[in-house]
Symmetry: C5
Amino acid sequence: MADIEDMRKDFATVWVDVIQFGDADLISGLGKIFGLHSLALEDAVNTHQRPKVEEYDDQLFVVALMLDAKGSIDTEQVAFFIGEGYVVTFQEKRGDCFENVRDRIRKGTGRIRTASSDYTAYALLDAIVDGYFPALEKSGDTLELLEDHVISSPKPSNITELHHLKRDLLLLRRAIWPHRELFNSLIRDEHPLISKETRLFLRDCYDHTVQLMDIVETYREMASGLIDVHLSSVSMKLNEVMKVLTIVATIFIPLSFIASVYGMNFDRETSPWNMPELGWYLGYPFALLLMSASAGGLLWYIWKKGWLQ
Amino acid sequence: MADIEDMRKDFATVWVDVIQFGDADLISGLGKIFGLHSLALEDAVNTHQRPKVEEYDDQLFVVALMLDAKGSIDTEQVAFFIGEGYVVTFQEKRGDCFENVRDRIRKGTGRIRTASSDYTAYALLDAIVDGYFPALEKSGDTLELLEDHVISSPKPSNITELHHLKRDLLLLRRAIWPHRELFNSLIRDEHPLISKETRLFLRDCYDHTVQLMDIVETYREMASGLIDVHLSSVSMKLNEVMKVLTIVATIFIPLSFIASVYGMNFDRETSPWNMPELGWYLGYPFALLLMSASAGGLLWYIWKKGWLQ
Amino acid sequence: MADIEDMRKDFATVWVDVIQFGDADLISGLGKIFGLHSLALEDAVNTHQRPKVEEYDDQLFVVALMLDAKGSIDTEQVAFFIGEGYVVTFQEKRGDCFENVRDRIRKGTGRIRTASSDYTAYALLDAIVDGYFPALEKSGDTLELLEDHVISSPKPSNITELHHLKRDLLLLRRAIWPHRELFNSLIRDEHPLISKETRLFLRDCYDHTVQLMDIVETYREMASGLIDVHLSSVSMKLNEVMKVLTIVATIFIPLSFIASVYGMNFDRETSPWNMPELGWYLGYPFALLLMSASAGGLLWYIWKKGWLQ
Amino acid sequence: MADIEDMRKDFATVWVDVIQFGDADLISGLGKIFGLHSLALEDAVNTHQRPKVEEYDDQLFVVALMLDAKGSIDTEQVAFFIGEGYVVTFQEKRGDCFENVRDRIRKGTGRIRTASSDYTAYALLDAIVDGYFPALEKSGDTLELLEDHVISSPKPSNITELHHLKRDLLLLRRAIWPHRELFNSLIRDEHPLISKETRLFLRDCYDHTVQLMDIVETYREMASGLIDVHLSSVSMKLNEVMKVLTIVATIFIPLSFIASVYGMNFDRETSPWNMPELGWYLGYPFALLLMSASAGGLLWYIWKKGWLQ
Amino acid sequence: MADIEDMRKDFATVWVDVIQFGDADLISGLGKIFGLHSLALEDAVNTHQRPKVEEYDDQLFVVALMLDAKGSIDTEQVAFFIGEGYVVTFQEKRGDCFENVRDRIRKGTGRIRTASSDYTAYALLDAIVDGYFPALEKSGDTLELLEDHVISSPKPSNITELHHLKRDLLLLRRAIWPHRELFNSLIRDEHPLISKETRLFLRDCYDHTVQLMDIVETYREMASGLIDVHLSSVSMKLNEVMKVLTIVATIFIPLSFIASVYGMNFDRETSPWNMPELGWYLGYPFALLLMSASAGGLLWYIWKKGWLQ
C-alpha cells in the first residue's frame, strides 16, 4: 500500500489493476489511498453493472464490459476510477485485453508512459472496444459459412446454428450498446479530468462503438434473412418431393385400376355380358393401348402444368 | 393516530405503511396528519395507476408497481407520499418485498434507521425494482428449457409455452417500462426533498431498471427466434415424413402395376396376342427382372436427388 | 339565443352542447355570442379533424374523438370551444358519454356546478377518455376467448377473427394516439384559461391515455403472437395427418405388392421357372410370413423414427 | 414578360404558373423579373427534388409533390417561389389539381382574389395535399375488396394484388412523408412572408398530412395482416385436402390389401395350407366381414382424431 | 513538394489527391506543408473509418465512403482535409468518381476553377453522393426483374437472388446512412471555412442523401414483400399439386378396391355364399356400374368442395 503512495509521487500516472477482488481490506485500503467514493466502490465490486459514467467530485467512475477472450462472447465487468494522477481498475477475472497496453508501458513506447490519467484510461477503454472486433469477425465468418450451406444444401442443423448466431449477436449488441452512451457522455460532459486532446481520442472510441453496432445490426438482419431463405428452400424441397410423388401416383394409379379390372373373375360362361373383352382376339393389346393412352394423357396434363421441369 | 403525531417528533423519519385501504376514516385521518393532497390520495387508493412521479408543494407523490411474490408476474400498486420526515405507502394487498427493509430497520443496521425520508423512499423503491429480478430469472430458466426442447425434440405444446412466455415478458415489460421515466424524473427534477446523495442511489435504481428492460427485450427476441426454429423444425419433419412416403410409394406403385398386368385374365386360348408372356418359358423370371429393373431405376433416381441421406 | 346571453350572467360557466349541426344560422349565432373564431368554427363543423389543441386569443379550440357507444369502435368528433365562463361543444350525432357529467350537473354533486370553464372541459374530456376503456375491455375478452380456442382447437375462422381484432385495435390506436399529444399540449403550454389545479386533473387524463396506448399495444402484440400460434398448430396438425397417411401407406403398399405378385397368372405348366412358389407345400404360409416380415420391418423403422408417439 | 411586370402593379398577388419548362429564355426572364435565386431555379427545373422549404433573402422556395391525376399514384414535382406580391410555380406536366383554385380566382369568390402571396401559396399547397385523399380512398376500396376475397375465397392472384397495394402505399408514404416536415417548417420558422393568419391555415395542411400518414400506415398494417390471413387460409385448405386424401387412402389401402391376398393363386390342391379360406363355406362373407371390420376400425380412429368435422 | 508550396501562392484553391498512400514520407511531408493534424492523418490512412466530420482549429477533417465503380456496392474510403486555400484528399485505390470534377477544372468551366476550398470540397462530396445513384438504379432494375419472375413463375433461385439483393441494399444503407449526419453537421455547425453560399449547395447533398435512404428503404421493403409473395406462391403450388394427387387418388383407390374384390379366388363351387356376383348374368355390368357410381359420387364431393377450379 505504501508502495502505491510512493509511486504516486514518482510517476505522472499510477495505474492500479485489481483482479479477483476478494480481499476486502485491500479494497478499503485502496479506497482510502485514492479517496474512492464508497457507493462507486460498491458498484465496482458488484459485478452486474451496466456500462456507465458517474461523476464524483474529483473523480470519474466508469464501468465497461470487456469480452473474456478473443472471439468469445462472454463479458467481464471492468470498473475504472479515474482521478488526478491515477487510474484504478477492478476486473472480475484473470485474463484481459490489456496486454497490448501493458507492453507499451513496459517498453516505454508511445506517449502512454508519460501520459496523464485520462490518456491511460482512454488507452484501456480503447483496448476494450477493440476487443469486440475479433468476436464480430468470428460471427461474420460463421454467417458466411452458413450462407453457403443454406443456399446450396440446407440442413436441419443450419436453423439451430443460425439461432445460436442470432443469440450471440443479441448478447453482443446488449454488451456494446451502452458503451455508445458511455463515450458520448465522456466526450460531451466536459469533465475537467478529460483534456480536450483526450476527447479527440475518445471520439475515435465512440466511432468504433457505432461501427460495432452497425456491424452487429447488419449481421442480425442477414441472419434473419437466411432463416427466411432456409424456410423457403425447405418449402421448395417439399414441393419437389410432392411433385415426384404426385406424378408417379397420378400416372400409375389409373393404370393399376385398368389392370385390376381385367383381373376380375366374372364367369364369362354364364353370360356374354361378363367381361367379353377377355375373349377378344386383340383383348390384351387393347388393354395395353388403353393403359398407354391413359398414361399419355396424364403425362400431357402434367407436362402442361409445368411440373416436369 | 395520535401515536403517529408523537412518533413524528421522536424519529428522523416515520414510515406509515397502509395495507388493504378499506377504512376511509383512517385514510382521511392520515391525509390530515401528513397534509396529503386529496387528488393524490384519490390516486393512491384507486388501484389502476401507471408508475409516475407527481410533485405537490412540499410533497412528492410516487406510484410504483411491485411484483406480488417471488417469480410471479402479477403486479400490485404501491403509492408513496414522501415529505419532510415521513413516508406514507399504500399497498393493495398483504405480502410485499419490503421484508428486507423492515429487517434492516428493526435491527438498526445500515443507515436506514437514521436516514431522512428520501433515503427511506429510495430503500423501498430499490426493493421493488430488485423484486423484478427473480421473475426474470424464472423466465430465463423457462426460455433455456424451451430452447433445449425445441431444438432437440419440438412438441406442439412448446409453441403454447413459448406464447405464454412471450405474454409474461410483455406484461413484465409493461410493468417495468414506466419506472425508467419515474427514476429519471426523480433524479433530474431536483426536487428539494431528494438530497444530492440520494440521487446517486436513485441512479442505481435507474440503472437496474434499464438492465431489466434490456433483459426483457433480449428474452423476447430469443423467444421469437425460438418460434421460428420451432416452425422450421416442424417443416423439416414434414419434409422427412413426406420423403419416406414418396420413396416407398414411388418404388412400389410401378411394381404393383406390373404385377397387376400379369394378373389379368385375358383368354390366352382365343388368340396368340393375349398375354403371351404368361406362357413364356422364363415368363415369371422376366417379370421379376422387369420389376427389379424398375425398382432399381427409381432408387437410382431418388438417390441422385439426394433423398436417401 | 338571448337565453344564453342571460345565462352567461347568472352562472359561473355555461356549457352549450350542439348536436347534429345542420342549422347554419344557429351556428353563426353562437359564433357571434361567444366570439368563436371562424376558422375554428369551420373545423368544428367539418367532421374529419384529428384530435388537436389550437390556441386563439382568448379561447382554446380542442378537437377530440369520442367512441360512439359502449364497446363500439366507431368514433365521433367532439369539438370544444373553451373560453372565460363558457364551454361550447359540437357533436356529430346524438348519443354520447357525457350522461355522467350531466347527472353530476343536474344533481349539483361535486365541484362541477360551481367550477370554472376549464374544469368543465376537463370533466368532459375525462368522460371521453374513460369511454375508451369498455371498448378495450371487450377487445381483451375477445382476445382471451380466441387464445383459448387457438391453443385448444384452432379453426379456420379464428384467423379471420384475429384479423378483425387486430384491425379494431389498429383503429383504436389511431383514435387514441393523438389525444396523448392533446393532453400534453394542454398541460405544458400554460394557457391562462387552464388553471394550475385543472392541470393536475389533466395529468390524470394524460396518464389514462398513455395507459390506453399501453393496453392497445400489448393486445396487438398478443394477437400477432396468437396468429403465429395458430399457423404453428395448423402445421402440426398437417404433420400428424401426413404421418398417419405415411404410416398406413408405407406398411400396406409393399404388402399389396407381394399379394399382387402371387396373383399373377404365369403358366406354371409351361415351365418350372414360372411361379414355383404357388405349388410349394407351404407356399401360402411363406407368403404370409414374407408379408409379416415386411410389415414388421417397416413398423420397426417407423417406430425408430419416433413417428408412433 | 412586360405583361407580368404590368400585372405586378395592378394586383395584390401575381401567380405565374410555368408548365413543361423547356424554354430556357422564358425561365431566365422570369428569374430576372422576380429575382429568383439561381440555385433554386436550377432545383425547380431539375425534377427529382424532395419536398422541402428553403429560405432565400426575400423569397421562400418550396418544392412539393403532386399526384398526377385523381386516384393515380404517380407524382409530379411542383416548385413554388413565394415573394412579396408574387407566386411562381413550375410544373413538370400539363394537368394538375389546381383547377379548383383557378375557378375561385376566375369567379372572384372567397378571399383568394384579394389575398397576399402567402395565402395564394397556401391555397395551392392545400389543393396538392387534398389531391392525395382520392388516391388513398381508392387504396382503401381495393383493400376492402381484397379483405372480402381473402377471407371468403383466397386465390393465388390475391397475394399479387396485395403486393401491388402494399407497393402503392409505400410509394404514397414516400411522397407524403416529407410534406409533414415542409408544413412544420413553414409554420414554425416564422418567415416574415408568412402571416400569422396564414400560419393558422397551414396548420390545417399539416393536420391533413399527418392524417394522410395515419391512413397510409393503417392500410399498410392491414395489408400485411391480410397476407398473413391469406397464407393461413392456404395452409388450412392444404390441411383439408390432405385430410380427405388421408382418410380415403387410409381406409381403402388395407381393404385392397385384403382383397389382393385372396386374389393370390397358390395351388390349393398341392397342400391344405395353401389358402384354405378360399374353400371355406363362408369364405367370401368372412373376407367381406374382415374388410368391414378394418374399415370400421380405421373410421373410428379417424373420427376419434377429430378429422371428420 | 515545393511545387505544392508554389501552387498555393498562385491558385485560389489547391487540391491534392493522394491515391494508394503507401509512401510514409510523402504523407508526413504533406502533413507538414498543410499543417494536417496527426490524429486526423492517422485516421485518413487507416481505411476503416465511418463517414464523419471532425473540426480541428483551422481545418475540417471529413471522411466519406465512395462506391468503387458504377453499379458496384464495394466502398472505398475518401478522407478530406479542408483548409483555407487547400483540399487534400486521400483515396484507398485508383479509380474514383471525380473524373467529372477534374474535367470541369481542366476545361475551366463553371465556378470550380476560381472557387474557394469549401466549394471544391462540396463538388467532390457531391460527386461521391451522386455515385450512389447508379448502384441504386441497378438494384431497382434487379428488383423489377425479380418481381416479374416471382409473380409469374417463381423458381428456387429467386429466393437466393432476393436474399443477395437485400444484402446489397443493407450494405448500401450502412454506407449511405452516416453521410446524412455528415452533411447535417457541415450545414449546421457553422464552421468559418464553410461559406453561407456553400451551405446552400451542401443542403442539396443532404437532400440527395435523404433521397438515397428513402429509395434504399423502399427497395428493402419491396424485396421483403417479394419474399412473402414467393413463399405464398410456393405454398399455392404445393396446394395445387396436392389437389391433383388427392383427386386422382381419391377417385381411383375405391375403384381399384372394387376391382380387387372381384379378383379374389374364393371357390364358388364350395358354397353359394362365395362370390355369387361372379356368376350373375349381369355381374360385370353391375361391377362397372358400382365403380361408376363410386367415381361419380366422389367427383361430386370434390366438385362441391371447389377443388376442380
